[in-house]
């Protein structure tokens, strides 16, 4: 039953019980004390009474004296007053005692007797006084009075004595009672304390246990559950807080158990799927490891290839550098570094034009044309002629070569490879070569000039008249010398063409004029062979920007060939016309033609076809080579059609815009 109360209530019960017990104890004690007090009062009362009785006795004793004093002759009349006073005192005391007399009959009797005796005494005393107040009093008469008086005084005193004894007895009795009551109280208090202690302790223990025991049990079981045993349950039948706690706790455990089993189930599920995945992953891992191995192999190979490429790159004799689509240098080799004066590290990562300054030699302006065009058009571009690179230390090095862009998979230009070399030495060599050629040609020409002039003078008769044969021989010498001169000139031209050192100096040129002039030169031979010349051009053909010397060479070669290789009475046609953006020159003859088998070699050096070698020994074999080089360099084309013994037609096209000026060390020499 207790267990169904709330813990708080239980504690309140205990407290209240204890309080009530104390109250009860208090009440009992109080009543006992009241009793004790009563007894004490009684004792005190009796003692008081005793005291009064004693003092009354004294007073009665005292009151006897004044009358007794009258026994002695010469008594003071004031004694009567004293007596009255004393009497008053006794009366007062009697009145007092009356209040204390109590209800005991014996006591009442005694009191009454005492008083009556005293009254009688008093009467007697008063009679005495009265007697004495007469003048004629007789002492013998008073004797009886005195005796009466004394007798009653003694009787009163005896009563009082009895009373005193009575009171004494009362006192004793009351004192006894008092002591008894005292003891009783003592006992009662002890009992009460014991009872209270016992009851409160027992009740306390019960109530406390009613709390602690279930709590302990709860603790034990919850501990067991917390330790993992979810199957235990708290058994508590009480309806108090602990019971509710137990119920909730059990519920909680149920929940936990349920969720645990849920979790377990889920975990089992997950574990199954995880194990599955794990095996899958393992398989993947194996595959990846395989792939990694391959990659590593491939990388190793790539590294080796890279090393190979690096070696190759650095052993290339020319400077090589590669830029990406943002013109930043991503690869460079040692030669590039050497030429530019920077180290490879200084070059890598920078925009090429920040470190490699390509400038035009003459203007000093930056040459980025080759790079920009290459990147834009995706085609190889030459680094322009007469480009120098400004080294790190500011010195200039002439360079040549090209920029080749490369494309990515989509076909967009993603970078450019630039190859360049120091051409200073090349140039030096070229210069030396052309100097040599110049000097050589000069050295060759000098004796030729001597022979020329002396032959000339001889033939002119400056050294005397000549015989017929002398003239003939001299002619041969002169002719031979002229051929030699022609050959030397041709060789000089060829060497200039080969060295690329011949210059083109375009000016407004009237082709008709040059052609006519050349024909005029050849007039003697034309006349001799009776050849017909047809001019298919107008004198008014507009002036074109061409190098007159070169055009002269072109016409000289074609026309002299036509004249040379056409038999007597043959026909030669020359045409000059403008077609769209080209100038068209045609030179056709009805000559020996060129055998089909040898047509490919026609433009090569020192070539003379078999069919004409027998017939004409004159000719250097260099003419057409020179002509082709000139025309090609001028931006034109040259080709021919020919059939053996029927004739040959040579075609030349030149851009109507004319020749572009070409800087060279020398112009070509006309034959």
């Amino acid at each position: 039953m207790l267990k169904n109360l709330k813990i708080g209530s239980r504690l309140w019960i205990w407290i209240i019980t204890v309080i009530l017990l104390f109250l009860f104890a208090g009440i009992i004690t109080y009543s006992r004390i009241v009793d004790l007090e009563k007894e004490f009062e009684e004792v005190k009362g009796e003692s008081e009474k005793m005291h009064l009785v004693m003092s009354l006795s004294l007073a009665i004793n005292k009151v006897l004296i004044p009358p007794n004093s009258y026994l002695i002759p010469g008594a003071d009349p004031d004694e009567m007053w004293i007596f009255i006073r004393l009497d008053k005192d006794v009366e007062e005391k009697f009145n007092l005692i009356e209040k204390y007399s109590g209800n005991h009959p014996d006591e009442q009797a005694i009191f009454k007797s005492a008083r009556s005796n005293y009254l009688k005494f008093k009467q007697s005393a008063l009679m005495i006084f009265d007697t004495f107040s007469y003048e004629d009093f007789r002492l013998e008469d008073t004797g009886i009075l005195f005796g009466e008086m004394e007798k009653f005084n003694d009787k009163a005193l005896l009563d009082l004595e009895n009373w005193r004894k009575f009171v004494n007895r009362e006192i004793l009795g009351a004192t006894e009672k008092f002591e008894k009551a005292q003891q009783e109280i003592f006992l009662v208090i002890i009992i009460i304390i014991a009872l209270i202690t016992l009851i409160s302790t027992i009740l306390g223990i019960i109530i406390i246990r009613s709390i602690t025991v279930p709590v302990k049990e709860l603790v034990l079981i919850t501990k067991a559950i917390a330790d993992g045993n979810l199957n235990k349950r708290v058994v508590m039948n009480s309806k108090d807080e602990i019971g509710q706690l137990a119920i909730s706790f059990n519920k909680m455990i149920d929940e936990i158990k349920k969720s645990r089993s849920d979790v377990d189930r889920k975990v089992k599920q997950q574990t199954r799927s995880i194990t599955q995945q794990k095996t899958e992953l393992e398989n993947q891992q194996k595959k990846i490891l395989k792939i990694l191995k391959e990659v590593r192999k491939g990388r190793h190979k790539a590294d080796m290839d890279k090393d190979k490429i690096d070696k190759i790159l650095h052993s290339i004799g020319d400077g090589v550098f590669v830029v990406d689509s943002k013109f930043k240098i991503i690869i460079c080799n040692d030669v590039a570094a050497d030429i530019s004066g920077f180290t490879c590290d200084e070059l890598l990562g920078k925009r090429y034009d920040e470190v490699l300054k390509f400038v035009y030699e003459d203007s000093g302006k930056v040459n980025d044309k080759f790079m920009n065009e290459a990147m834009k058009t995706g085609k190889v571009r030459e680094i322009g002629n007469h480009t120098v690179i400004i080294r790190k230390d500011g010195s200039k090095v002439p360079i040549a070569d090209s920029a080749a862009p490369f494309k990515d998979k989509k076909g967009n230009v993603s970078g450019c490879v630039v190859v360049f070399r120091d051409v200073a030495k090349e140039r030096e060599i070229n210069r030396a070569k052309s100097e040599f050629v110049s000097l050589a040609s000069h050295q060759l020409r000098t004796p030729l000039s001597a022979i020329n002039w002396y032959s000339e003078m001889l033939m002119a008769g400056d050294a005397g008249k000549l015989t017929k044969n002398q003239k003939i021989y001299l002619n041969e010498i002169y002719a031979g010398n002229q051929r030699m001169v022609g050959l030397v000139n041709a060789l000089l031209n060829v060497s200039r063409i080969e060295l690329g050192t011949f210059s083109i100096e375009p000016e407004k040129v009237k082709l008709a004029e040059i052609c006519n002039s050349v024909l005029k030169e050849l007039a003697p031979k034309i006349k001799e062979k009776k050849l017909k010349i047809k001019k298919n051009y107008k004198k008014t053909f507009p002036a074109i920007n061409l190098d007159p010397k070169l055009m002269r060479i072109v016409f000289q070669n074609f026309l002299s060939n036509a004249v040379k290789y056409t038999p007597d009475k043959g026909k030669i046609c020359v045409g000059i016309e403008k077609k769209k953006s080209d100038i068209f020159i045609t030179i056709s003859d009805t000559g020996y033609g060129i055998p089909k088998k040898q047509q490919l070699k026609v433009f090569s050096k020192l070539f003379r076809a078999d069919n004409v070698r027998e017939k004409e020994t004159d000719g250097t074999g260099l003419g057409l080579y020179i002509v082709k080089a000139v025309i090609v360099q001028s931006g034109g084309k040259v080709w021919f059609e020919s059939e053996e013994d029927k004739g040959t037609t040579f075609y030349v096209t030149l851009p109507a815009a004319g020749m572009k000026k070409k800087k060279g060390t020398k112009g070509l020499t006309a034959g």
Binding site: H442, S449, W453, E456, M457, V485, E505, K666
Partner: protein, 130 residues
């Protein structure tokens, strides 16, 4: 020498050519003095006062060449700047030709392109005009 006689200073290093030129000039009634180097040429000019014309080759003996001589001749303070100069050389480089003309040469002939007779006749004509 006769007062009206024309004198040409031939500045040429090749001996055979010198002789040919000298002879041809004489045939045309012109006398000549020859120098083979710039130094020689200058000393002759100092000595011979009435030089009417100068035949100048490009390559000469010594360090200096025809251009150097021409430059000296055509210098502002030169006494000989008015003497016509005919450059006759085997080198036909357009640069050289331009330089000679720019410096003040009257004519430039490429030896192998012309007959000696033609050159001499031309020179004769030009100095006769003076």
């Amino acid at each position: 020498m006769k007062k009206n006689e024309k004198v040409i200073l031939i500045v040429e290093d090749e001996k055979p050519l010198i002789d040919a030129i000298k002879d041809k000039l004489e045939l045309n009634g012109i006398s000549s003095v020859t120098a083979r180097s710039v130094e020689q040429a200058i000393s002759y000019l100092e000595d011979v006062k009435n030089v009417s014309g100068i035949w100048l080759d490009h390559y000469l003996l010594g360090k200096e060449n025809g251009l150097d001589l021409l430059a000296k001749l055509k210098d502002e303070k030169s006494k000989w700047k008015d003497i016509p100069v005919f450059v006759v050389s085997n080198t036909a480089s357009p640069d050289k030709i331009k330089s000679y003309i720019a410096l003040g040469a009257n004519e430039y002939y490429t030896k192998s392109d012309h007959k000696l007779n033609d050159i001499i006749k031309d020179i004769k004509r030009q100095i006769m005009l003076k």
